[in-house]
């Protein structure tokens, strides 16, 4: 199938006698669709080139005729206007011929589409959940799940530091998948619509809140593949990258059991920490980090929020007075607003720290300290 397409592509490129720029080595300047690293993505690429060349060819023919008459049938060259204005024959021809060309495009397109939507018999299944503005990955067959956040520093975005090579396309914890296996993605969202997109896989699926869409890929080469959220999802839509690492199956297996172990240990640690009290300095230090990573996107690094959109925490009544309500809104969020439930995203310690931080930063000097066990108490209802 894809042979026919690429054959046709080649034929066309010879016909038009233009060197196919797409075949040139991809240099620094990327300006065409990429072939990607899966069979599907290369079929898609071929389709794209097929379409491109057909359109170019039609365009060349049509406009050659037009420019010919613009040149030779101009009044200044003494052209006299003919008076014909109808011809059933040509009109039928230029209705039928494009129609046939369309059929020629539709058949390979339909085949590729059907293959893309066939999500049956996956080897690995990952639940991908978008939320403002990060991705959450959960391996359905293993006890592993985590959030994946933008890793580019704010200073780079604000032009204070030089921008790194993968500016805006780097995350703290990439998704890891095995090569050569059929990986199925279950895509959904916690809040607004996002869209999970990795160009190298030719996978782009909308993450609709309340519904699960399915997509799949089978990656041929190990490597790091970068993409971005592709549906406007609010203020930081541009800062929600997707990074996927494809590893050889053996490496992947090792990685996943390591992760299972780490996540199990972390849970145990968490319980142990409950007994400990952290100092104010420690809470503030951890709290600031957590705040900048998880909260500052909406409430702003200054705690002043965006008036009318995200409330200020600086001087807020809840943050300066009501401790239980403060813990509750951070743990459970507030349904029907952008304020998410952080109980499942952050550890007890982090939540305690961030609450303490908010209650003491930006002149909120309440002096209150909240410890992990207080958060745990709120969580378990004691």
């Amino acid at each position: 199938m894809s042979k026919i397409v690429s054959g046709a592509t080649k034929l066309l490129s010879i016909l038009v006698a233009v060197p196919a720029f797409a075949d040139a080595e991809v240099g620094e300047l990327e300006w065409n669709l990429r072939k990607g690293v899966t069979n599907i993505s290369s079929d898609v690429y071929d389709l794209h080139m097929l379409m491109f060349w057909i359109c170019t060819a039609i365009g060349v023919v049509v406009f050659a005729v037009m420019f010919y008459s613009m040149f030779f049938h101009r009044k200044s060259r003494g052209a006299k206007a003919a008076n014909f204005h109808e011809s059933v024959k040509v009109e039928v021809a230029w209705t039928v011929v494009p129609f046939l060309i369309l059929i020629g495009m539709a058949i390979p397109a339909a085949n590729t589409l059907i293959a893309m939507e066939d999500v049956s018999e996956p080897d690995v299944t990952v639940l991908v959940t978008g939320s403002q503005w990060k991705w959450h990955y959960k391996y359905m067959d293993n006890d592993v799940e985590y959030y994946s956040l933008l890793a580019t520093q704010q200073e780079q975005i604000n032009n204070k530091f030089d921008k790194g090579e993968n500016y805006l396309l780097e995350v703290d914890r990439p998704l890891v998948i095995p090569t050569g296996k059929k990986v199925r993605f279950l895509v959904t969202s916690d809040d607004v619509i996002h869209s999970w997109w990795v160009p190298d896989f030719a996978v782009k699926k909308d993450a609709n809140p309340g519904f699960i869409n399915e997509a799949w890929t089978r990656v041929n080469e190990p490597g790091i593949y970068r993409g971005q959220c592709a549906e406007l999802c609010g203020k930081d839509h541009g800062f929600m990258p997707v990074v996927v690492i494809a590893k050889e199956p053996a490496e992947y297996d090792a990685w996943i059991s390591e992760q299972e172990e780490i996540q199990r240990k972390a849970k145990e640690e968490e319980q142990k920490l409950l007994a400990l009290n952290m100092s104010m300095e420690e809470l503030m230090e951890v709290g600031e980090k957590v705040y900048l990573a998880s909260c500052a996107a909406c409430h702003m690094p200054t705690g002043q929020g965006l008036p009318g959109v995200f409330p200020a925490l600086k001087g807020s009544e809840m943050v300066t007075q009501d401790i239980p309500a403060h813990i509750d809104i951070v743990l459970n969020g507030k349904t029907g607003t952008a304020m998410q439930a952080f109980g499942k995203q952050l550890s007890l310690r982090d939540i305690a720290a961030v609450i303490t931080y908010e209650r003491n930063a930006w002149g909120n000097n309440t002096g209150d300290m909240v410890q992990a066990k207080d958060v745990n108490a709120a969580l378990t209802g004691n």
């Binding site: 008459s69 200044s76 052209a79 040509v90 369309l102 339909a110 619509i193 782009k204 592709a230 839509h237």
Partner: protein, 531 residues
């Protein structure tokens, strides 16, 4: 069915003079006045929406956040789209319809002159509301001109209510405008002006008006659902209540797709008037033009989900919408071929309207080709929501709709004012626009294919070079429009050489053959004779 026009206060003789003062413009019932109002309003909106585009381009000039914050950027994108679509292109076409349809079919005025004025005056107010919402706390709409739920419901700010009501009254205005056009065409044709003699501009507007009446109410419906979802707890777009965010997209695009043809069918009409004039040859395939327009309009009702290929519809649905969308290329191709065939063996001259028309044909077709590429579902997964789409729709909208409007203004302006516009300025305007517009929109294909998503205020480094050029093209194109502004002001001051009644050597039709230049305030009070 023909008439003598009659005015109420026959005592004072104002039949050939316009009343003066501000009241003339506020209270007018004259199709030419209202047409002028529409056209100036559209142009002001074009500059406003353009200024927002300049903000967008300035922010995207280089990577990093420079001049605006992301939330404001989103408001710029959203309001730019809304203003250009509802404030610039649609009112401009309605203005042209007002000026031209009565003159082209030999009617004394629009069928419902008072309602005509009402539909115009709603617009400035509607856009006043929309624009002033930008200054409220929390800002104006920031969810894209497509305002997908739940970003526009649960997660939007309060000014959404104002957005909804301003769309409601815009919709009322469009519906009334369209009813007026359609009734005028059905009921006011001069004797002998039968269906197959109507100029194509009239035909395309007839079909456009039908589309408008059919889909603007659907837009009203979807914003109403959005309003109740956000403020009154309904669950149309909320899965927890049994609804679906994707339902929003279905209803929106059921309106939205025909909407994009609303913005191009009158353009087809304009080009079909201009090309024969300057080729000095009758339009090739008049009847097939009419049928093609009708087929495009009908097909436009069954292709809406091509904007939603990535939303996870079942394969069969995706296939249906892919095939239906591809089919639209056939009637559109017929149009392009007919124009080329009209030029073939003509006696062509290249006055300003013709230059714009030729640019339209080439560049619109280019936009159509990228549209066809987008229609191919599996590849659309790669293109969707990238700058490739942005490139596509600016080619069909800017070098399509906007260029056609400019062509139309240059073509009929001498008829309206009785004076030839400043040709030197016009040439500058054309060439500057043509070059800069391509610098502006062509590289968008490349960044799109390379993977740059749309609606982002900041981007990865590999897109930097192209974006710089795009922005430069954008500023240049913006400045070029100031030439147009200068030209129009001169024309309205009635500067320039007087023109003959026919104005253009090859022009045919009632407005050229039976009316003086400038066209008097009231025309065809007794219907003309149509051969």
């Amino acid at each position: 069915m023909s008439t003598v026009a009659e005015h109420s206060h026959d005592d004072h003789d104002h039949h050939h003079h316009a009343p003066s003062g501000i009241k003339r413009w506020l209270y007018t019932t004259n199709h030419k006045d209202i047409g002028t109002l529409y056209l100036w309003f559209a142009f002001i909106m074009f500059l406003t929406g353009g200024a927002m585009a300049m903000v967008i381009r300035a922010e995207l000039f280089q990577p990093g956040l420079q001049i605006v914050d992301p939330n404001f950027f989103n408001q710029m994108t959203t309001v730019h789209g809304l203003i250009m679509v509802f404030g610039a292109v649609m009112p401009a076409f309605t203005g042209l319809a007002n000026w031209l349809v009565p003159m082209m079919i030999g009617a004394p005025d629009m069928a419902l002159p008072r309602m005509n004025n009402w539909s115009f005056w709603i617009l400035p107010f509607a856009f006043l509301i929309l624009l002033s919402s930008l200054f409220l706390e929390g800002g104006g709409p920031n969810f894209g001109w497509t305002f997908y739920a739940p970003l526009s419901t649960t997660y939007s700010n309060d000014s959404t209510a104002l957005f909804v009501f301003s769309v409601h009254i815009m919709g009322i205005s469009s519906i009334m405008g369209a009813i007026n056009v359609i009734v005028t065409i059905f009921n006011m044709r001069a004797p002998g002006m039968n269906w197959m003699k109507m100029p194509l501009f009239v035909w395309t507007w007839l079909i456009t008006a039908f589309l408008l009446i059919a889909v603007m109410p659907v837009l009203a419906g979807v914003v109403t659902m959005l309003l109740t979802d956000k403020f009154f707890g309904t669950s149309f777009f909320d899965a927890a209540g049994g609804g679906d965010p994707v339902l929003f997209q279905h209803v929106f695009w059921f309106f939205g797709h025909p909407e994009v043809y609303i913005m191009i069918l009158p353009a087809f009409g304009i080009i079909s008037q201009i090309v024969p004039t300057f080729s000095r040859k009758p339009l090739f395939g008049y009847a097939s033009m009419v049928y093609a327009t009708a087929s495009i309009a009908l097909l436009s009702f069954v292709v809406w989900a091509h904007h939603m290929f990535t939303t996870g519809m079942p394969v069969a649905t995706e296939l249906f919408f892919m095939f239906a969308t591809m089919l639209i290329s056939v009637p559109t191709g017929v149009k392009v071929f007919n124009w080329v065939a009209t030029m073939w063996r003509g006696s062509i001259t290249f006055e300003i309207p013709m230059m714009f028309a030729i640019a339209f044909i080439v560049l619109f077709t280019l936009g159509g080709f990228s549209g066809l590429m987008l229609a191919i579902t599996p590849v659309d997964f790669q293109y969707h929501d990238t700058y490739f789409v942005v490139a596509h729709f600016h080619y069909v909208l800017v070098t399509g709709a906007i260029f056609s409007i400019m062509a139309a203004v240059y073509y009929w302006l001498p008829k309206w004012t009785g004076k030839m516009f400043d040709i030197t300025l016009a040439k500058w305007h054309f060439w500057c626009s043509l070059i800069s517009v391509n610098l502006l929109f062509f590289p968008m294909h490349f960044v799109g294919l390379a993977g740059m998503p749309r609606r982002i205020p900041d981007y990865a480094l590999q897109f930097a070079d192209f974006n710089k050029w795009i922005s430069i093209g954008g500023f240049a194109f913006g400045l070029s429009q100031l030439i147009f502004l200068a030209l129009l002001i001169k024309a309205c001051k009635k500067e320039g050489e007087p023109v003959s009644d026919r104005v253009w050597e090859g022009a045919e039709g009632l407005e050229w053959e039976q009316l003086p230049s400038p066209a008097p305030y009231h025309t065809f009070e007794t219907p003309p004779v149509v051969k």
